[in-house]
Symmetry: D3
Subunit: 245 residues, 6 copies
């Protein structure tokens, strides 16, 4: 399969352009934070639930916990996938992604300011078109922020445990060209795929690069990181706009 | 808990009134049928996926199959529920509901006209406020109809296997008063809860009545069925409007 | 398959006749209540076990709990079924049935009079010939009654928590004829199948009707309920005879 | 706990006496062989099901297979045990027992005379009072014999694949005294427990001895084997009487 | 397959000879006891872990517990076996073996002298060539002994809970000849296979004999036990040499 | 916890020094490739098994497959971990690691030259002291190389499908100092942890960096990559020495 990307990127998108990003808060009614985030055709519902309990390893510590789970509706994808609940277990891919989301969010939380409670982030993909894990992290931050605002309004905490903002984007090399924010057809065709998670302060939280078939050079990696830094700057701005801060 | 329903039904709703029903087709992109159905605050995404295979008991029969799976996002409800995929199994309630949806839809299909393929209906509750299983059946019918239209357009079948329309509604007795289309607070307070599935031709497909604490009389049952027949008539009209038929 | 039922009902049974009902108490030695119930060729062993604990949602409530589990021996049926313990999970059908039995029995119990203890009802099908769930409910009531008598005799409770008797029967339409208490060949051939659970006071506890292929009318439903009411009256009498009350 | 056995063996049973053995053929209706076997208060239903398939390692071999599964109804015992189907797995004890039954029966079968089919033996304990696995083996042989008779009558095989009869008994040392056929209270109190499986030709098929707390001497083992040989002789006679051969 | 054993036993080994036995203590670094035991080509790593907790049935009893788990690396065997962790359950064989190891070790422990703590024995087969369960028992004893020495040195206990030494060996009849310590090719060809567990005091702890195809006589059993007693005497000496006692 | 690393690195190791690397081929007998690799106190047994089958998505493709599984013996670590086979599932961490190993090895294979067969790599940690996944990748390459040599010697393939060598190392920042090849105490104390997989040709195959608490800068990342490149060069040399090429 030949992918002529400069010519063909969907909608004439530039290699260094994000897809349209939409962040809708209060998307559902019950959760303390509920955000639908869209990266083009990728739509992920991120809810933040406050639970007055912590996992065993945090009991009695005075500290809270932030955790994440990830799922994909069976027909979020081009062809129907088995429902994980029916198969009786989560795939390795699902577990890998939800561990990534959890680590990324915990990195910007001061757990001792949260008190002995949990913020549970559920990221469910309604429609998939590449970049679901990066959209999930970016949206989960906004949902977590709303849950913290709720905790402050309820008087359950008096100081925000959020130390920094966090967002994520994918980058990759397709047909030799470094591209920002891969959609599904690009992701399938790419030689190298990298997911980058960064804070507003400019540091890396997670960095996961994978060569698909051909190893990548340090120079290529640097080009990808340049793209990612720029994209994440835009996502952090979109988060602030959505939160009105 | 005392529920003064004539006075207090949310939004001044009459005992025999449905909540606002909204049916949005093509809600997501990939499925052959994709419908978001809303019964007031209850929102269920119903997708219909065409798969060119049948389960073992239909192989070689020349007949197709219609099946359903049901799920609820963890924070669709007031308090977060465990994710079934993480727990490693579907609850008895989930299995009961998805079997009900499957039977209800199969009842209006001529499986021999479908050919040896499956229509898989996925009903995922995005937000719950009572009546999720009846919304799922009502929405799944529309999604299945769209999938059949797609099959006809593709030339995969030449005649529709759909013999009749099907819709469902809940009814119940709360504080002695028969009510149509229970929302969550009513469902929790009710003495008797009945789910009714009917066809456009006026027949019953499924009828599941449960007394919560106090058994119900035949007279009460008849009052509930009168309500249900009326509500289903309205739902069938809403389906036709949504489908433009 | 053509079923000429007036002519052919096994043993010349009338459409409105139950099969021979046999209730044997103290069938096994260890359980506080142990009943073998037979509806013709259907044989279900129902044991009631008193356990001095309650599930989490009842702890500290001062109330008890009544629950049920259902199983079928692998060769209770015409052809051998997989053993659920070996497959590693209970089928959806099994879960549906055991939830039905539990709800039906709880409906006649005043759980606050039971104290913080559980009556666990195990309904195991030794031989199946249709109507296993209705036989299970009818027999489980007798076993539960024996367990309550034991609790009273032990001085663990001073007042019976049983408020009413409960029994169940299946009805269905086969070849256009409403029939009471379907046996396996009738159940397989029927257009409509309904399981009805009623109390001695005459109220409905559960009502589950399913159309197999053809929807049923309200008139047909009324004919079925007439049959069911009559059959349940006979079953309640058989329970009383077995209990000597 | 002191057990004075010569004085106290239930019903004045002699150390070398079996409990009453009852073998009821055709106990249930559907299986090709169906036997209820009772060793005193221990009751096991053994069914033999003929299946026209073999497990993968026998496919295309021209040989058949004999296999066994074992289960215990939840309230077969003094206190209720969890249902294995509900827990989602069979215990190590259950697997150990069903593997023992399967090996014991295969030892008397010429699998090449069975043809490519399986005899599946289901041994379900209705009531337990010690010795369930030995009763299961002894009863399963009779059920398997009936299934073979059915296969011959159907013309599916022309020569019996059964080469010998097989039966089993438990023996143990309780309070220093070697005893035959332990019931539950004896089994709980014993120092050494041995299960012995033998053929009519007098050979050992399986021998499983376990010291509970105190190791046993070779002399003790010889005394136990003497008891077992005698008990198995009686069981083999009971099998022949039941089979009328 | 004809096995001419007197002529062909690998390396000219005599029928009553053990393979070379090697016991390496402190094989890994973290466990309180860590032993690699080799019976010829069979290599099992046995670790003993001290855990300051007991299973539920021992809580509050003042007594400790000794338990064992067994595993086989996927390519310990001639052809690769599925990894049990990936399949999601332990096989019946694995459970049978780990229960045997646990019982064998508990038999030589005075659990009341251990205090409320557990010694967990993990026996993992690195390379398999027959006799893995007997090597595991023999090695686990040495590892348990080292864990007890550690407990004494730590001052956690003041008296050893070990009452006796325990070791195990396999014996079998191959081509009519009784053989000690079967290796894989002999085990596959044998008519009768027996695993014998004995204490230094000369008593039997476990005895598991299985006929493969042909039942065995009492005389054959006696010949096998003679071989086993002799082999276990040698193994107990090897344990003492390894422990320097 | 303060870690003074220049002063305290175990054994006076320099920040840019690997621990002692030992690669032992033919460590076990049955596998086509069997390698024990040691990075200091970390010991991983890597076996390569040739299987004449491929997973479903490769059937009929003419291509082979390379896959990996990872496990840790329960007491490979400081405190005993639950056995995954006993718990009934692999942890998210285990799945993440075995997916990483598989992708890393596939990246240097030309699957079309392998033919329709699988090389299954089993990486089992015998003793853990940090860096188990990087040791596993580095050792698995040597085992896979031996399996390919075996395939060539057997005449099953005529050309090696291995296109390049691959090795992996961990790097991290501890107390502000970039370190190569973290051992357990360093790994537990580090701010940033990165696993790097590279080929002999100098390209990156996988790159996984995680901030523990504090995000890392691009400059820090570059320092880490410099260390990693140097360490991998040494590991590739060690592989060649072990293979004698």
């Amino acid at each position: 399969m030949t992918v002529e990307l400069n010519a063909a990127r969907a909608g004439g998108r530039a290699p260094n352009a994000l897809r349209a990003v939409t962040i809708t808060r209060n998307y559902t009614r019950h959760a303390e934070g509920s955000v639908l985030i869209e990266f083009g055709g990728t739509k992920v519902l991120c809810t933040a639930s406050v639970e007055e309990k912590v996992p065993p390893h945090k009991r009695g510590s005075g500290q809270g916990w932030v955790t994440a789970e990830y799922g994909m509706l069976p027909r979020a994808t081009h062809t129907r996938s088995d429902r994980e609940a029916a198969r009786g277990k989560q795939s390795g891919r699902t577990q890998e992604i939800q561990r990534l989301i959890g680590r990324s969010l915990r990195c910007v939380f001061d757990l001792s300011l949260l008190g002995e409670r949990t913020i549970a982030l559920d990221c469910d993909v309604i429609q998939a078109d590449g970049g679901t894990r990066t959209a999930a992290i970016t949206g989960a931050y906004v949902a977590a922020h709303d849950a913290v605002t709720w905790l402050l309004a309820q008087g359950k905490i008096t100081q925000s445990p959020i130390r920094d903002a966090v967002a994520a984007i994918s980058v990759g090399i397709v047909g030799g060209v470094p591209l920002l924010d891969l959609e599904y057809t690009e992701d399938s065709a790419c030689d190298t795929d990298m997911n980058v998670v960064m804070t507003a302060a400019g540091g890396f939280v997670e960095l996961q690069g994978t060569a698909e078939g051909v190893a990548f050079s340090r120079q290529e990696m640097n080009a990808l990181l340049d793209l990612a830094e720029q994209g994440i700057t835009d996502l952090l701005a979109a988060q602030r706009r959505a939160l009105g801060i």
